[in-house]
Subunit: 240 residues, 2 copies
């Protein structure tokens, strides 16, 4: 079809980059990567696919990003930037902490691949958005009067990460099945029944969960309950 090996240097069809395509940039690559991750999941993101979506050659991305892992780090910090920061000053630390926790969870559920990446790389990323979030949390818990604010923060973050991770993984599994959450639960029940056969307490717990008409609301309530537990425990540590 096309000329095989660079025949004569002065061909008519010069490369002549289309100027409408806004050229490659690190920010653009990260943005498109997040789009792919959100739409198709973490295992669907390949450098080649990402490149073709950007109208670029397969290996051109490496001019702007050292490695795929680095790209993932950038993507993670980018979505951390979506989390609404806790207010710098707030009369009600508890409401502010609840808001921050909810914002974190909402972001984790909006980008379910985040959990998979966090499981592999943790929170050691040092990205600016994550740092800004940490700073604001420190401000919040310090000005609330906690004697060990970093301990308090670590506790609530651990809870939020744990719950969000589990939830995101669950939602990912459902999404892969292509079914709705209620349908998925219904289809899963036989296997679950078999798995818990012979046990005493789990069967009725599972039956109750399977009978819920609105699993999403149930997850919301579960998250709120646990968060209240953590915040209650923290409140006990406030002086006086």
């Amino acid at each position: 079809m096309a000329a095989r090996t660079n025949p004569i240097p002065s061909v008519w069809a010069r490369p002549q980059r289309e100027p409408d395509q806004p050229a490659l940039s690190r920010a653009g690559i990260v943005r498109e990567a997040i789009a792919v991750l959100d739409a198709e999941g973490i295992e669907a993101l390949s450098m080649r696919k990402l490149a073709t979506r950007l109208n670029a050659g397969a290996t051109s991305l490496y001019r702007h990003v050292a490695t795929k892992d680095e790209l993932m780090e950038l993507a993670v910090d980018e979505v951390f930037g979506e989390i609404a920061l806790p207010p710098a000053e707030s009369p009600d630390w508890r409401a502010a902490a609840t808001d921050a926790a909810g914002a974190f969870r909402a972001t984790a559920l909006r980008h379910p691949w985040l959990s998979a990446v966090l499981g592999q790389a943790g929170l050691a990323y040092l990205g600016p958005n994550l740092m800004a979030f940490g700073e604001r949390m420190a401000v919040l818990f310090t000005s609330a009067g906690f004697p060990e604010p970093s301990r308090a923060i670590d506790a609530v973050i651990a809870y939020v990460v744990g719950m969000s991770t589990t939830e995101a993984a669950w939602l990912t599994t459902i999404a892969r099945s292509g079914q709705s959450e209620v349908d998925f639960i219904a289809r899963l029940m036989p296997a679950a029944q078999e798995a818990i056969a012979g046990l005493d307490l789990l069967p009725e717990a599972y039956a109750a969960a399977a009978a819920a008409p609105d699993p999403a609301a149930l997850r919301d309530a579960k998250f709120a309950y646990g968060l209240d537990v953590v915040l209650d425990g923290l409140a006990l540590r406030l002086p006086r």
Copy 2:
């Protein structure tokens, strides 16, 4: 080197499987997979490498395991079996819960790849060992008198998973660097300093963390603190 294409059917060197090698079995495959995962990490496990370690052909494993993901599920449930179950009956629910949480964390740190897998697949595995653990937790919190035992369990498990996941990912990063934890922290500090430049509270928090002589003990204390927070919050929900 070797005879190229099956020359004569009746060769002297019959396949004659070495009988000392205990043949392939699902349990043996899972065991060896866990050994590789523990020793070299999750991205070092490939079906080919695993097969050669078992003196088997690359694709023979697929007779006993449908897919690599299924193998990972089996490995996950296998290590869940290492967690000491909470006692069926205990006069002190708090001590029992603390033990169970510590056992979970210890297992997660002993097999750091677990966090990565949990991040991708969540706790929806339905494996027998995980189910047994859940059942015992239900027994523990129900007999302790909690009005909503499954909510209580979910809260403490979320905390433990979140903290252990973060910790395991951190340890994995360190292990990949080949350094000790203190050395790694020292090497990381310059980048961290830059990342938190311009912030108010984080710098001193980081400095304090970096100055700790025994980071592992600090992690232990952090985990215990947060767990106490959660259990305190739960205790408030016990009737009377």
